[in-house]
């Protein structure tokens, strides 16, 4: 196997793997972002409740 053969195989494999990864991450990432924003919003809500316990009690 020459260096050119080796780099050609590596390039083709990389292109194929990356195409699959791009599709999977694009779909999965969308749901992850939704979850992350919900978590952060919840954290912010909790922090506000902790900061104003009296208002919360009312």
């Amino acid at each position: 196997m020459t260096w050119l053969d080796f780099w050609t195989v590596l390039l083709v494999l990389t292109l194929a793997l990356f195409s699959v990864l791009a599709v999977v991450v694009a779909i999965g990432g969308f749901f992850d972002i939704r979850r992350m924003l919900r978590t952060l919003a919840k954290n912010a809500e909790n922090a506000q409740t902790d900061a104003n316990p009296r208002e919360d009690a009312k």
């Binding site: 260096w3 990389t14 990864l21 990432g29 749901f31 992850d32 992350m36 954290n43 912010a44």
Partner: protein, 522 residues
Amino acid sequence: MLNLESNFTWLDWGIVAVYLSVTVMIGIYVNRYIGNMADYVVAGRSLGTFIAVATMTGTELGLVTVMYAAQKGFTGGFAAFHIGLAAGVVSLIVGLTEFIVVPLRRMRVMTIPEFYGKRFGNGVRVYGALLLAGAGILNMGMFLKAGAIFVTALTGLNDPFYVQIVMTVLIVLVLVYTILGGMVSVVITDYIQFIVLSFGMLLACWFAVKRLGWDAITETVSSVHGHAGFSPLDGEGFGPSYIVWMLFVAGLVSCAVWQTAVMRSCAAENEQVVRRMYVWSSIGFLVRFLLPQFLGICALAYFWQTSEGRAVMFTPEGLPIDDAELTMAALPLFLSQVLPVGLIGVIGAGMLAAFMSTHDSYLLCWASVLVEDVAGPLSGGRLSTKARLVLARLFIFLIGMFLLVWSLWYPLEQDLWDYMAVTGAIYFIGATALLVCGIYWQRASRAGAYLALTSGLLAVLGLDPIKNAVGLDRLEALLGFNLSEAHVGLFATATAMVLMVVGSLLLPDRCPSELPTQETAT
């Protein structure tokens, strides 16, 4: 510079304008989710696997990466692929073995100097943070220039004055939404950029091969670079010492020691996400070098085949011209010729978003290091959350101003990638010794840490202007061979490890702290 008619039209400018406006609006919108410093710096440690992979790849596959990797493909041929291979393989090994990154996540640190503090005390933390931030800011010193060269070459704005205008506009845009949104906006824009750039790059590769033909590409590399264009072991090109240097820099450092990558593992939900992120991101680490390098090789073939391109880009002997700014412009010039209207706008916008995403990650990173690891410890931990956020935003602004001045002033005399490896080495040479020994060797001491961090400064000898100023050429004449960045970097790395071990053995700590590998998993 070549005066080529670009395919970039008003439609493409429209695409870029819409894309960038949406990105900035997202940065402003997500400001409402920032409640404390952990939200701002590591997105509240709430990243899932897919978004972690997207943001890791998004940050690392930026416009600057594309520019320096393409330049390496242009000046080194297929042999440059060894850099991507090293990056991918080492990142996979890190993911499988949990080397460095999982213990760091276990310690719940936000920055590497915070680890120094927990392991070696506050003095090492502050000293290490100053070295890290200094090296990191210098490392991104050429980002603006690379971004501006890309924009002007892609769009056909040939007047050098436009480069300065574009640099100023870019830094203002980046500062606005990084200051406002922090890591949450970084994560979301990384995700958008990941999608646009991934598919854009794949399409660009297809257009390039379709236009040039595979045989013409390989024949050009053979004509211009000879055997060294294919074999990285050939001393006429990269050579064995450069490969070892790349295994260290593009491999281990990029994924496990460089602060921006480590921040992603620290932002992950749990240790399992860290492992998965590194295993999956190994493809991203491979791609970030390989695809742009391939496009750089295509640019080489394109200009070799056109008479005007050959006259400007090559010496009469047929070698790529020794002008870093011109070889950096080869990829955008090539893309401006082969991509169709519309797609060139999408790729241009994706690249600019990539530029902004890399910039915001780095700005956020260095500013948070200065706040958390310098200002925080020096104030005795008395800084309020509000004060820390204000200070982080102030540092981001000041770093942005420095970058603008540095980009205009510093004469880039070597490949951009080599400049970045050397400036980054000021930090990562010492950091590697501290991380490896600090995590895995109980006897690593504070004295050893100080010595190892200081020896990282030796790396500046790899910068061409410094090398010329201190007269390293006389040493080269004495040794009988050229002292490359790789030689200097490897020497400094070995020195740091030796000093860490010797310093620790001779001057041990009275009360050694517990190793993070011994702590309970969270």
